[in-house]
């Protein structure tokens, strides 16, 4: 749990001097150094992990594997680290038009300033998206623009120094690439894009965090970020069949692994077979598939939907993502169905086909139950579970007892990536309204395309920065509190595995009494299964309404 008690934090965020509370720093931001102390940074990547990643990708993308400490003044950087960084910027300017334009176009109008959850929770000026980008832009100007070279600081340019590097490490790891600021920017400047570039560049000189790199290495070797080996993965998933049996009285036998010839390959964020509350979402998936008799299989090789590579560089993102199509091809499935996961869907929706397609060995996804052809996935051949489920409901293929969710007063958290990197807004809402009687939206500035991040995405869901995470999650928690107070909301539903983990901690901290679930858990609760016993508890063994005591 967080180091700071919630009572103290509550006063601190609203009262302590910060730019959010109206206190203006006396020094110009270029003169304020980044100071690391326990709790405000993530631990660096372990040497053997960096070595492993380094040898699995071409080029020197991860710098020199070494042991180093963030709080020390010697980061054991290579001699020519500045040149590597400047060259890294140049290479990316040549490869990404977005980066080039975003470096040139900002007018510092400040529309983004108070849109960032990190800024709202910390009041730290450098968490305003505009300043976060200026951290990098100032160096860009110095090296790549005439105005910057001639006018220097007058044009907002400054030299690359170790101090700047420290700033980058601090603030590009206080951005979760949620893209909320990008919605409000008049030029569409996307800080997610800038953070991605900055992190790629930091990796070049071996400045990194372990919470991203180790899961990425695990995903590469074992197939999933948790490092579960095939037999363990299978065993974990199968345990959940016992839980399903206990709740419903049904022994499902539709769970298969690595089965060739299945119609559909189902890929989930691996946390869904591993930890609460994701496991209940997983139980929901299985009940749904049993209900409709779907011919599907799960792969232990491609057992991670999430892509920790996307938090490092585009090369590792591509490498990890490549397993999805490779496995679909090996198993000979017709199309891929994807579970509830946020950044997985950013990668699947906006990157996968480009990086690892064309997926011409599969067919355009067609629901075997309703006959609906998913034209929106005609090229990538991958469908979101919410799209799939919404279509089943619309075609009356599912039998529900909504009252089984009557002990829940539900709200829905739009996860950043499905909302702003995909446009998946209505499908989950449609599902929820068909399986729940009590649903309330959070205030409109905090949902849909304006949704607030959980505060811990992009590999920041690590224990060593708990205070920061609770601050960054405040805007989301605050909106939940609003509906908790007003409508007695007690269940925060979402379609993201990182959310399921991080929002749980966030709710425990700011809004005790509110639980977190995947949308498919609510589906599983409500589904009337053939031959089931009368259910008196939900999938997490909690008593249903009227069954308490």
């Amino acid at each position: 749990m967080a180091d700071t008690k919630v009572e103290q934090m509550s006063v601190s965020v609203a009262k302590d001097p910060s730019l959010m509370t109206g206190a203006v720093p006396k020094k110009d931001w270029m003169d304020v150094p980044a100071v690391f102390k326990p709790g405000n940074y993530c631990y660096p990547g372990k040497k053997d992990i960096v070595e492993y990643l380094d040898k699995n990708l071409p080029g020197k993308l991860f710098g020199e594997p070494r042991e180093w400490k963030v709080e020390e003044d010697d980061w054991k950087l290579p001699e020519n680290w500045k040149e590597i960084i400047i060259q890294g910027i140049k290479d990316r300017l040549d490869k990404f038009r977005s980066f080039k334009i975003f470096m040139d176009c900002c007018v510092r109008c400040g529309a983004c300033a108070d849109k960032c959850h990190f800024f709202l929770g910390t009041g730290d000026p450098k968490n305003m998206p505009v300043l976060r980008a200026e951290l990098l832009r100032s160096v860009y100007r110095n090296e790549f623009t005439k105005a910057g070279k001639i006018l220097g600081r007058l044009a907002g340019a400054r030299e690359m120094t170790f101090g700047v590097l420290k700033e980058w490490f601090m603030y590009f790891y206080q951005c979760t690439e949620c893209r909320r600021c990008s919605v409000f920017c008049p030029y569409g400047i996307d800080t997610a894009e800038i953070t991605m570039m900055a992190r790629e560049i930091l990796h070049l000189v071996g400045v990194n965090i372990n919470w991203v790199l180790e899961p990425a290495a695990n995903s590469n070797r074992t197939g999933n970020h948790l490092g579960l080996q095939p037999h363990t993965f299978k065993q974990n998933a199968e345990f959940l069949l016992d839980d399903i049996e206990e709740v419903t009285g049904l022994k499902l036998n539709n769970l298969t692994f690595n089965r060739k010839g299945a119609e559909v390959l189902f890929i989930i964020p691996s946390a869904d077979v591993f930890a609460e509350p994701g496991i209940y979402t997983f139980m929901g998936y299985l009940l749904l598939f049993e209900h409709i008799g779907l011919d599907y299989t799960i792969s232990t090789y491609a057992s991670e939907g999430g892509n920790f590579g996307s938090f490092t560089n585009n090369e590792l993102m591509k490498k990890l993502n490549g397993k999805m199509y490779a496995e679909a091809k090996r198993l000979g499935v017709k199309w891929i169905l994807g579970g509830e996961c946020g950044h997985m869907w950013r990668v699947v929706h906006q990157y996968m086909d480009t990086m690892n397609g064309p997926a011409d060995f599969m067919e355009v996804p067609k629901s075997p139950i309703t006959g609906t052809v998913f034209k929106n996935a005609a090229s990538s051949k991958m469908v979101h579970i919410s799209e799939f489920t919404a279509d089943l409901i619309k075609n009356n293929k599912l039998k529900f007892d909504k009252s089984r969710n009557d002990h829940r007063v539900v709200t829905f958290h739009d996860s950043c990536n499905p909302a702003r990197g995909m446009g998946l807004l209505e499908e989950p809402r449609y599902i929820i309204q068909n399986v729940c009687n009590n649903f309330h939206e959070m205030p409109e500035n905090t949902i849909r395309e304006q949704t607030f991040c959980c505060g811990s995405g992009t590999g920041l869901n690590t224990g060593e920065i708990m205070d920061l995470r609770m601050r960054a999650g405040l805007p989301r928690a605050n909106a939940v509190k609003h509906v908790h107070d007003k409508h007695a909301v007690n269940m925060l539903s979402c379609v993201c595995a990182i959310d399921r983990a991080t929002l749980t901690s966030l709710m425990e901290y700011w809004n005790p009494g509110v639980e977190v679930c995947g949308v498919s858990e609510l589906v599983g609760n409500a589904l009337i299964m053939d031959g089931e016993k009368e259910r008196d508890s939900g999938l997490r063994f909690e008593p249903l309404a009227g069954m308490e005591g």
């Binding site: 509550s10 965020v13 609203a14 203006v24 990708l57 490869k95 990404f96 038009r97 977005s98 080039k100 040139d104 176009c105 007018v107 510092r108 400040g110 529309a111 300033a113 709202l120 000026p125 300043l131 623009t145 907002g156 893209r179 990008s182 919605v183 409000f184 569409g188 400047i189 919470w211 290495a217 695990n218 590469n220 080996q229 037999h231 363990t232 065993q235 692994f257 690595n258 090369e315 591509k318 490498k319 490779a326 496995e327 929706h349 990157y351 086909d353 990538s380 919404a390 990197g421 446009g423 998946l424 807004l425 209505e426 499908e427 205030p443 395309e449 224990g463 060593e464 708990m466 405040l474």
Partner: protein
């Protein structure tokens, strides 16, 4: 203070032109040579900048989706904020470029005791931004009368419309008032709001003050000192038609200050944040259709040598466990030698909660 640095530069530039025209040949320099140079710099480097952007590819299709995507046919798509077709993108870009749609969404967040966050509507930046840009555009178009003969109908119509209140003599153009008013607002906003002041660079104050100075000198010439418009038009039209040699002596120094500031603006433009004028058209989060699962987007530098860790390699690592767990394998187990190292279980980092 950064604003004073910028103000100092603008005043120095004004003084430079004011005194410069008194030097022999100064009028030709400030009235002919520099304006040509400024215009050339503007055109060449503006194009160069845009070409420079265009030279870098758009490797991934990364629109920021601002509404419901095109998915199932019965789910209503938000075709403007989340377009999936070219016509939708054109619609989105039209709203963005001409109506500043994203800025229109602006809110202001406040933190209260509790803690409680609130998000109020905040449209004033959008409003004054629109006023500034459109009055600037109108003024630039109105100035076309100085470069054309006969004057195009739309310019005369614009002038008439702009002065329709028929106040003062000469008639006061509404855009002059709105222009200076909006600029003043934008400047005060930068100076007064703490967070905006904190992020502002001299490079943010400079163009504001420069454009204000251009507007002010123009207004003074038109309404107060009454510049000799006939002489001015001889010069400007001569510039436009490359018929040089118009007499420059009868024109007031203030005009040359005005013209020099415009020259500076043109020269400064391509190297500054003012290039947002071109950039807004090319922004990949706005000008791409959200159809990347429907239509394959190609990345010209995609590296086919980056392949996933192979299934074969994976099975080699874990075959024994897989067979034991009843998972299907491609290659059966070989009778294994007595001492083989088994891979260690890779543990995930754990949260310290």
């Amino acid at each position: 203070m950064k604003v004073l640095q910028a103000l100092g530069i603008v005043l120095a530039l004004m003084l430079l032109a004011y005194l410069g025209v008194e030097v022999p040949g100064g009028r030709t320099l400030f009235g002919v040579v520099l304006p040509y140079l400024g215009f050339a710099v503007f055109i060449i480097f503006f194009i160069a900048k845009v070409m420079g952007w265009a030279k870098s590819p758009v490797p991934f299709r990364i629109p920021t989706t601002g509404g419901q995507a095109n998915s199932l046919p019965w789910i209503k798509q938000n075709k403007l904020d989340c377009p999936s077709t070219t016509s939708g993108v054109i619609g989105r870009m039209f709203l963005e470029v001409f109506l500043f749609r994203s800025l229109f969404r602006n809110t202001q967040a406040k933190i209260h005791e509790g803690p409680k966050l609130s998000y109020g509507s905040s449209k004033y930046l959008w409003f004054f931004g629109i006023l500034f840009h459109y009055s600037f555009l109108t003024i630039v178009l109105r100035h076309m009368r100085l470069f054309t003969d006969p004057i195009p109908g739309f310019v005369s119509a614009l002038e008439f419309g702009d002065g329709f209140l028929q106040v003062g003599a000469p008639v006061i153009y509404q855009t002059d008032v709105v222009f200076l008013g909006a600029l003043t607002f934008l400047l005060l906003r930068r100076l007064i709001l703490p967070s905006i002041r904190y992020i502002s660079l001299p490079a943010d104050y400079f163009p504001l003050l420069l454009i204000m100075a251009i507007g002010t000198t123009g207004v003074v010439m038109r309404y107060v000192t009454r510049v000799d418009v006939v002489s001015v038009k001889m010069l400007t039209q001569g510039l436009a038609t490359f018929q040089l040699g118009a007499p420059l002596d009868g024109i007031s120094s203030l005009f040359f200050v005005h013209l020099f500031l415009i020259t500076v603006l043109m020269m400064y433009f391509p190297f500054s944040k003012l290039m947002h004028m071109g950039g807004v058209f090319l922004s990949p989060t706005r000008n791409l259709a959200n159809n990347s699962r429907m239509v394959r987007h190609v990345n010209p530098w995609n590296d086919p040598s980056i392949k996933p860790h192979s299934y074969a390699g994976y099975e080699d690592d874990f075959r024994e466990f897989m067979v034991e767990a009843g998972l299907p394998v491609e290659k059966e187990l070989e009778p294994k030698p007595a001492e083989e190292e088994t891979p260690a279980e890779g543990a995930a980092p754990t949260e310290s909660e």
